[in-house]
């Protein structure tokens, strides 16, 4: 809703998100990690699809971060087990390395490569979603923070003025 004095809150609209640059080492680190986490599955072959699937599954099943981390570990374990059964356990890291440059390991069969790639992609995507879910998404109520800062400043100002009042004898009459 807009009127002569500018935009006004409308109950039928969502509030606009407050976009602010990250402040402090903790917030900057979190943002870097979030970007890396989001980027990691995208460099993998088929990572987009797997990440989308993991996100949709998480949304529908209301999964939380610890559960997702356990699921990611299960995917890795399953990859190791499948590699051990159909080839050797060392073939799993080889398949992973080829997954990053989108090439195929010549010594591993096509179907096994596909299965190992999918399991690794799923593990990375689920880890990414878990990390993003753990991100501190609490929004700051700027008005409340500003009010608290203002009140703290007022308290300090009063303390200083009281001290000044104690040591300074005021005139009784001023022109």
């Amino acid at each position: 809703m807009k009127n002569a004095s500018g935009h006004h809150r409308d109950e039928n609209r969502w509030p606009l998100p407050v976009l602010a640059a990250p402040r402090g080492l903790r917030e900057i680190t979190w943002h870097v990690v979030a970007l890396l986490t989001l980027g990691a599955p995208l460099v993998l072959r088929g990572g987009w699809y797997v990440l989308a699937a993991a996100s949709v599954t998480t949304w529908f099943l209301k999964l939380n971060s610890p559960v997702l981390r356990r699921v990611a570990l299960w995917y890795l374990a399953a990859g190791l087990v499948i590699a051990a059964i159909f080839a050797t356990p060392l073939d799993f890291p080889i398949a992973i390395a080829h997954d990053f440059d989108w090439s195929r390991a010549p010594e591993i069969g096509a179907s096994l490569t596909f299965a190992l790639d999918v399991l690794f992609d799923l593990s990375v995507a689920v880890c990414s979603v878990a990390t993003l879910l753990a991100f501190d998404r609490r929004s700051v109520n700027r008005a409340a923070v500003d009010l608290r800062v203002w009140q703290r400043q007022q308290v300090r100002r009063r303390q200083l003025l009281r001290g000044w009042h104690r040591v300074n004898s005021l005139p009784e009459v001023i022109q």
Partner: protein
């Protein structure tokens, strides 16, 4: 010129602020009052020991200094009525302040008698009729006032309370009118004789009981003084030791103060009614004070009332609070009635909920009215600090001590 009360710590009452030298947070504002501010009257409310009397003494001190700075004008007359009657230290400080600021004619009651029976018959009747207005029915009040009127008019005006008491003995007033022998006095004699001995005795006993406690403190003698003549006066009403008498005395003195408004000298006057709680419960004193506050501004009389709570201002508490141009609140546990005077401000309050994923969602909001003065600030004010409210604005100040203390 402004009389400086203290340092402004917070608030938006810029009308009283005077910029001072650089302080710890930039230029510091002091709070200064003019005599015009005071003539709109002032109420000082606060719990016991929070600094009310010191605030009043600071006002007394600064306005005495203001008078000193204007030697061409007569000094501002200051009458301090201490309704508790215990504050010897304050009385001594008041005397020191008056001496230090060059006030010559300073009087003290009850040590020095006041001329309580001076004035016209109408004024005398008005003062004394207040004594018969404490719970009597309108009929009995009118009856007592008529008898007083007859007694006051018989012969010369009484010079002392004992004179008047003698006149209201059964038969005395009628005898005085008979002695005068004129046609009019004989008619009044008949009127006086129409009241029974029991009726005269009821008036006699009321005055006799008053005389038993105030003695000759309202009698006209050479040593007695009048409110019009003094530069400064301290009147100590025995509100703690004799509350019943205190109400009578306060009513009498308030009536005399009211007469100052009709004084032709139009001298600027400040009346401090400290510890008003001690007499405020008496309907007569409360109503008298409210009447003074409502009517004396144009006569250049400023009234400062000090009380412990709003309720202790008595029946006329609302009238007193709403007609006072300035209210000073010291610490008190229930400040709502006071802070309402400063009004409210509109504050936007968001209502938010947290969804299942922990996201905070703004669901609604509304404009909320909040008190302009934080109630907890008034509850927790340290001794010597106060909140001043004037015309919907407020300020938090640290009150200075009078300079001779």
């Amino acid at each position: 010129m402004r009389a400086i009360l203290g340092t402004m710590l917070d608030g938006d009452l810029r009308a009283l602020a005077v910029k001072s030298a650089r302080g710890p947070c930039g230029p510091t504002s002091l709070i200064g009052l003019t005599f015009d501010d005071l003539t709109r009257h002032l109420c000082i409310i606060g719990g016991t020991g929070t600094g009310k009397t010191v605030t009043q003494l600071r006002l007394v001190s600064t306005f005495m200094r203001l008078s000193q700075a204007n030697p061409g004008e007569p000094p501002i007359r200051i009458i301090f009525v201490d309704a508790k009657g215990l504050a010897d230290e304050n009385r001594q400080q008041f005397g020191e302040l008056a001496r230090d600021r060059g006030y010559a004619n300073v009087r003290y009651w009850p040590e020095q008698p006041i001329r309580g029976l001076d004035g016209t018959l109408a004024q005398l009747r008005e003062r004394l009729s207040g004594l018969f207005n404490g719970g009597e029915s309108p009929f009995h009040h009118a009856e007592a006032v008529t008898m007083l009127d007859l007694a006051l008019g018989a012969g010369l005006p009484p010079r002392s309370l004992s004179d008047l008491i003698e006149r209201v003995r059964p038969g005395v007033t009628a005898a005085l009118y008979e002695m005068a022998g004129t046609e009019r006095s004989l008619a009044l004699k008949g009127e006086a004789a129409s009241f029974s001995n029991t009726q005269w005795n009821s008036v006699y006993l009321r005055l006799r009981a008053l005389a038993a406690t105030v003695g000759d403190r309202f009698d006209s003698s050479n040593a007695a003084w009048g409110l019009r003549d003094v530069d400064a006066a301290w009147i100590s009403v025995p509100g703690t030791s004799s509350p019943q008498t205190a109400s009578d005395v306060a009513t009498w003195i308030l009536a005399m103060i009211g007469e100052l408004a009709a004084s032709p000298d139009h001298r600027r006057t400040i009346i401090c009614l400290d510890e008003f709680s001690a007499v405020g419960q008496d309907q007569r004193a409360s109503q008298f004070a409210a009447g003074l506050v409502e009517r004396t501004r144009s006569a250049g009389i400023a009234i400062i009332i000090g009380a412990q709570t709003v309720a202790s201002l008595g029946d006329a508490a609302d009238r007193l609070l709403q007609t006072s141009g300035t209210v000073i609140a010291h610490a008190m546990p229930l400040p709502d009635a006071i802070i309402e005077l400063a009004g409210t401000i509109q504050v936007w309050e968001d209502s938010q909920s947290v969804d299942e994923l922990g996201l905070r969602v703004a669901t609604s909001g509304r404009l909320q009215q909040q008190y302009r003065v934080p109630p907890d600030l008034v509850r927790s004010l340290p001794v010597g600090e106060a909140v001043i409210i004037q015309r919907g604005r407020w300020t938090h100040i640290a009150v200075s001590q009078p300079q001779s203390l």
